[in-house]
Amino acid sequence: MSAEAKITGSLTVQIPEEANRGLQYEENLLWEKERCDHPGVDFPEPQNTALRTGTGARGPIGLPQVSEPQALRHFVKMSTWNYSIDHGLFPLGSCTMKHNPRLNEKLARLPGFAQIHPMQPESTVQGALKLMYELQDWLAELTGLPGVCLAPAAGAHGELAGVMTIKRAHEQLGNKGRTVMLIPDSAHGTNPATAAMCGYSVKTISTKDTGRLTVKAFMEALGDGKDIAGMMVTNPNTCGLFESEMQEIAYTLKKAGGYFYCDGANFNALVGKIRPGAFGVDVMHINLHKTFSTPHGGGGPGSGPICTTEELAPYVPVPTVVKDGETYGLEWEDTRPETLGRLKGFQGQFGMHVRALAYMMSHGADGLKQVAEDAVLSANYIMARLSDDFHVPFEGPCMHECLLSDKNQKDAGVTTLDFAKALCENGFHPMTVYFPLVVSGAMLIEPTETESKEAIDRFISVMKDFAADVRNGDTEKFHDFPESTPRRRLDEVKAARNPILRWGAFFDK
């Protein structure tokens, strides 16, 4: 009992009165709360404390002890510190933070979808398998790539599945010495990481001059092509620009024996408009949680199916859903021995498959086309209205996201990071900052098609005010933002250099 008393005494942390402001409450960790005599859970007194594996019972370990209302308020208070797409504009470039229609949620909760188990016999889940089969069909139609595998759990996992498919194909076809993956310098960071994880070395293609991949830069990187396994490209790219020389590049790559992997993160700009298969893609992943509006950004899980050409289809991971007459089933290694194998437990994030198909079917082909058109229109509207205030590194029109930089302001001492913090102060989630790396002080803004003109106008007006403040020399305040959030300006350097990774108040006692 004395050990417990000691821990109890040392754990409680008092919150200073001034920390609570208006409806914003500070909140302790559960561990730091004063221990309550009436915990919300009653455990029976232990009868026999002798452990089977050790020499005896340990002492009290200081578990938090709170009542039910205390626990409830703890989590509700902390939930108010969050910012989500359900709060407001979330213009994080390359992330496609769009509204998740509640219809999708309703359908995913139908008992026939929500309460089945992946180990049930296939004959008892024909409806679920049919849904997955139809989702495969929709994805094949939208990408122009008929080989679909729904298994990957998220975008980076889809990338891994895609590049492993390429690797498997080279192995099965007996192609030796293909050890290099070509990747432009504007790529998402996961691209070179994926290539490296698959054992490829990365050769960078420069896009610095125009923000786009050019045939010339590609040819220089390709060389004689004998060691090239493939190329990973995002289209539209991370500068928000359409890669217009893609067809010729893809043709040359294929002639040299490489495969073309397309990062599908930015598919929102193309969906329903063009099929990536048409510009020479061999394999791409699709983020259901971006383009097809399943929740992400902490609300996941994600889902990252891959789509491939007929040629690469045998190599994709198992299982895939197949149809035999009127019966649906999962295909495994025994009938498709060329496959690279299994990458994930069971058959993928089924709940996300339901939501994505609900989204596709409720929009229809014409609706999806309008998604892309409106997303592109919104981004161009922002670019056009902010181009007098902020530097535009690559002339538009852009696709679904627009790229600005802090070039016009940084000499006055206000940088991209300051604008991000100032947006927090004004009730917006910041845009993507300092990415893509090819532009100094990059601000990548993706409004998506689900924001109203009013919401976008408010964002524009706040950004215009920032620029005006800098022009008028009112710059000092930018270094203190945000001031009205639960946490103020953080010392990010200190946090990264000297992180406290262990909660000392407990473990050091």
């Binding site: 070039k407 990071l417 300092y434 990415f435 790396l437 100094s440 990010e492 990264a496």
Partner: protein, 125 residues
């Protein structure tokens, strides 16, 4: 004092016989912002011309440090892992990241001298 040469990727190179010390320039440090981590190579690592041999990470981004010459890493500034401020020091005061024994001194010929490098960075954003 060893002669300093510069690359377009913003490394400086201090040449001393057949061993070069490599660090990153003030321009690079300015662009990266405050550094939070440096990943050093291992002694004995072989690098090709243009290969990356170290990674510097700031609050904004992570960036590779490239070797403009082929060779072998013969010495690593281990003190830098604990004291990132060292990277701001000049070549002769422990500002180097690693020392590389070069194979072909002619590879140094394409590098810029100080005035050329200044001209180069003035032309950038």
């Amino acid at each position: 004092m060893a002669e300093l040469k510069y690359t377009e990727d913003h490394e400086w190179v201090a040449v001393d016989g057949d061993v070069v010390s490599i660090g990153i320039t003030g321009y690079a440090q300015e662009a990266l912002g405050d550094l939070v981590f440096v990943e050093l190579p291992e002694v004995g690592k072989k690098v090709g011309k243009g290969d990356d041999f170290a990674v510097v990470e700031s609050v904004k981004t992570a960036a590779e440090v490239y070797s403009p010459v082929a060779g072998e890493v013969v010495e690593v500034n281990v003190a830098m892992a604990d004291d990132l401020e060292l990277i701001k020091k000049p070549a002769n005061e422990n500002g180097w990241i690693a020392r590389i024994k070069i194979e072909d001194p002619s590879e140094l010929e394409g590098l810029m001298d100080e005035s050329k490098y200044k001209e180069f960075t003035d032309g950038l954003d």
